[in-house]
C-alpha cells in the first residue's frame, strides 16, 4: 500500500499561453527546476523520473538528466496515452519510493502545441500534398478517419450524444448542464493569475452563440490549446516531513486499461462506461476514505462533458443524475464538491491533467486562489479512470 508513504513536496509550472517561444525541452527544464526549488531539493539528487510516453510527451528522460545535471536515475517509467497516464505516473513514482528504488521522483509534462501540432487539428496544421490521404492503420484509426472521425472533440460529442439519448435529456437540458460547468470554471479562472482565460468573460449568451464544433459540443465545451509545462516532486513521507511542514500525502493512485480504451473509447462495451467501476472502488479503498471525505475534485476536462460524467464515474452522483446535479448544485465554490477550482483545461490551460494535480496540491497546502475552506482531501482524476487521492 502506498497510503501516506509518499508525499508531493514540490510543484512547478511555466507560464501557460497559446504559443510560447521556448521549445518543449526548455519548458520542461523550467517547470522541473521550479518544482525542485519549491521542494528545496538539488536537481543533482533526483533519482527517479516518471512521464507520459511518446508521442504525447516530447521531452525524454535523457534530455532532462543531462540538462539538469542529475547524477543518476535509478528508476524511470513511462505511461501510455493521455488521461490514462494521469494517476499512473503517481502510482509508479509511489511504488518506486515504497520499494526503495528511488528517493526523489520527478513527474513532468511539457507541451509545445504551437510547434508540435495541436491535438484538435487532425492535419496538425500542415498542408497536405494533393491526392487522397491514406490513413496508416494504428489503434483502429483507419476505421475512423475515412468517415471524418479524426479529432477528440468529435469523439467526445459521440459520448455526450449517447448520454443524452440514454438518459432522456433534451438538447437544452444538456446545454444547461455543460454550460454550467463551462461558466463556473471560467469564473474560477478569473481569480487565477496563471489562467489563460483570467480576463475573458464568458456569459450564457456567448456560450450558446459560440461556434458548434460537433453536436452537441460547442467551442467553450472544449479545452484550450496551449504551450506550457508542469512538474511535481515526490519523496517518502519521512523525507517530506524534513523538507516542509505541509507535505501533500498520496493516499492512493490508480491506473486502469480495458479493451478498446485506445486512444479513447469507441468500441468499448458501453460508450458511457469510461472505465471499470472497480477502478474507482480501488482508488477509494486503497485511500481509506469515502466520497463524502473528498473536499475538492480536479477532473481532467478535455471537454465539459468529462467533469459531468466523472462525477458519476467516480461515484459522487448516481449515473444519469449529474446533468441535473450540476445545474441544481453546481461545481462552484459554494457547491457540495467544488470542481476544477483553477479553471481546468477549459479556462486555465490544457496540460493533460497535470495542472489539476498542481491545483490539488495547492488546495491541500491552503494556497489556492479559489481555496476550499479546510480542504483536507482532494481527488484528481481523469475520465479514463486514472486518478489519485491526496491529503494533507
Amino acid at each position: 500500500m502506498i497510503r501516506r508513504e509518499v508525499a508531493i513536496v514540490g510543484i512547478g509550472q511555466t507560464q501557460y499561453a497559446k504559443a510560447l517561444p521556448p521549445a518543449a525541452w526548455d519548458l520542461a527544464i523550467e517547470a522541473v527546476t521550479a518544482a525542485l526549488a519549491d521542494a528545496g531539493i538539488d536537481p543533482a539528487d533526483v533519482d527517479g523520473m516518471c512521464r507520459f510516453a511518446a508521442p504525447f510527451e516530447p521531452v525524454s528522460e535523457p534530455m532532462l538528466v543531462r540538462a539538469l545535471g542529475i547524477r543518476e536515475l535509478t528508476f524511470f517509467a513511462q505511461s501510455p496515452l493521455g488521461g490514462e497516464a494521469l494517476g499512473a505516473v503517481v502510482a509508479h513514482a509511489a511504488a518506486a519510493i515504497v520499494a526503495g528504488l528511488a528517493r526523489v521522483v520527478v513527474v513532468y509534462r511539457a507541451l509545445s502545441q504551437s510547434k508540435g501540432g495541436r491535438f484538435g487539428r487532425a492535419d496538425r496544421g500542415r498542408s497536405e500534398p494533393a491526392g487522397d490521404i491514406v490513413v496508416p492503420e494504428e489503434d483502429n484509426r483507419s476505421f475512423a478517419w475515412p468517415y471524418g472521425l479524426m479529432s477528440p472533440g468529435q469523439l467526445f460529442a459521440l459520448w455526450a450524444a449517447r448520454y443524452a439519448a440514454v438518459h432522456g435529456l433534451s438538447a437544452e437540458d444538456l446545454t444547461q448542464a455543460l454550460g454550467s460547468i463551462a461558466l463556473t470554471q471560467r469564473r474560477y479562472a478569473h481569480n487565477n493569475p496563471a489562467a489563460m482565460m483570467r480576463d475573458r468573460k464568458l456569459d450564457w449568451d456567448t456560450y450558446r452563440r459560440a461556434r458548434m464544433i460537433s453536436e452537441p459540443l460547442r467551442l467553450f465545451d472544449l479545452c484550450l490549446e496551449n504551450d506550457g509545462a508542469c512538474a511535481y516532486v515526490l519523496t517518502s513521507a519521512d523525507a517530506a516531513r524534513s523538507l516542509r511542514e505541509d507535505p501533500v500525502y498520496v493516499l492512493s493512485a490508480t491506473q486502469t486499461l480495458s479493451p478498446y480504451r485506445e486512444p479513447m473509447g469507441i468500441y468499448t462495451d458501453d460508450l458511457l462506461t469510461l472505465f471499470p467501476p472497480a477502478a474507482a472502488e480501488r482508488l477509494f479503498a486503497q485511500a481509506g476514505v469515502t466520497r463524502a471525505d473528498v473536499d475538492v475534485a480536479e477532473f481532467y476536462d478535455a471537454t465539459s462533458f468529462m467533469p459531468l460524467r466523472s462525477l458519476e464515474s467516480y461515484g459522487f452522483v448516481p449515473d444519469g443524475q449529474a446533468w441535473r446535479y450540476v445545474v441544481d448544485q453546481g461545481t462552484g465554490p459554494d457547491s457540495p464538491l467544488p470542481v476544477n477550482t483553477h479553471g481546468g483545461h477549459l479556462s486555465e490551460a490544457y496540460l493533460h491533467g497535470m495542472n489539476g494535480v498542481l491545483e490539488g496540491v495547492r488546495q491541500l497546502r491552503g494556497t489556492a486562489r479559489n481555496q476550499v475552506t479546510d480542504a483536507a482531501v482532494a481527488l484528481v482524476g481523469a475520465p479514463a479512470g486514472s486518478a489519485m487521492i491526496l491529503a494533507r
Binding site: 498542408s127 476505421f143 475512423a144 471524418g148 460537433s214 452537441p216
Partner: protein
C-alpha cells in the same frame, strides 16, 4: 480528395470485402464469436483460426454527431456531415457515416441498413442508410 484507409495484413480482408459490396466482421473458427475491429487472435478463446463472416447489414444508430467544424483541411467542403457509431444486429459496432437523409435527421436508435460508397479506385467504404 478522399481519406482512405491504409491497410495491414490484418485489416485488408475487411476492405476487400467492402470493395465487393460485402460487410464482414472477423470471426473465430474455434469458438464462433465475432468482433470488430479485427484482432490477431480471438479475444474470447485466444484461438488463432480466424476468418471473416458476412453480416446481415442491419443495425441501429448507437450514437451520432453532426460535425460543423472541420478539423482537417480535407473535410472543409463536407461540413456539415454526420459521424455515427452503428451497432450491428450481430453485436459489433463500427464507425460510419449515414446517407439517404440529412445529417440533422439521424437519431440514436434509428434502424439502418448497410450500403457502400466508392471513394477511390478499389476502395468502397461501408455506409448506412435509414432502413
Amino acid at each position: 480528395m478522399a481519406i482512405v484507409p491504409g491497410m495491414t495484413d490484418l485489416t485488408r480482408p475487411y476492405w476487400e470485402n467492402a470493395n465487393a459490396g460485402r460487410l464482414v466482421t472477423q470471426r473465430c473458427g474455434t469458438c464462433g464469436r465475432g468482433w470488430h475491429p479485427p484482432l490477431p487472435a480471438c479475444p474470447h478463446c485466444h484461438g488463432t483460426d480466424l476468418g471473416w463472416q458476412q453480416v446481415r447489414g442491419d443495425g441501429t444508430v448507437y450514437s451520432c454527431t453532426v460535425v460543423r467544424h472541420a478539423t482537417h483541411a480535407a473535410l472543409a467542403d463536407q461540413i456539415p456531415y454526420v459521424i455515427a457509431i452503428v451497432e450491428l444486429a450481430e453485436g459489433p459496432r463500427l464507425v460510419t457515416g449515414i446517407t439517404g437523409c440529412a445529417p440533422e435527421d439521424v437519431r440514436v436508435g434509428m434502424a439502418v441498413r448497410a450500403c457502400f460508397l466508392r471513394v477511390a479506385d478499389g476502395i468502397a467504404l461501408p455506409y448506412f442508410e435509414p432502413a
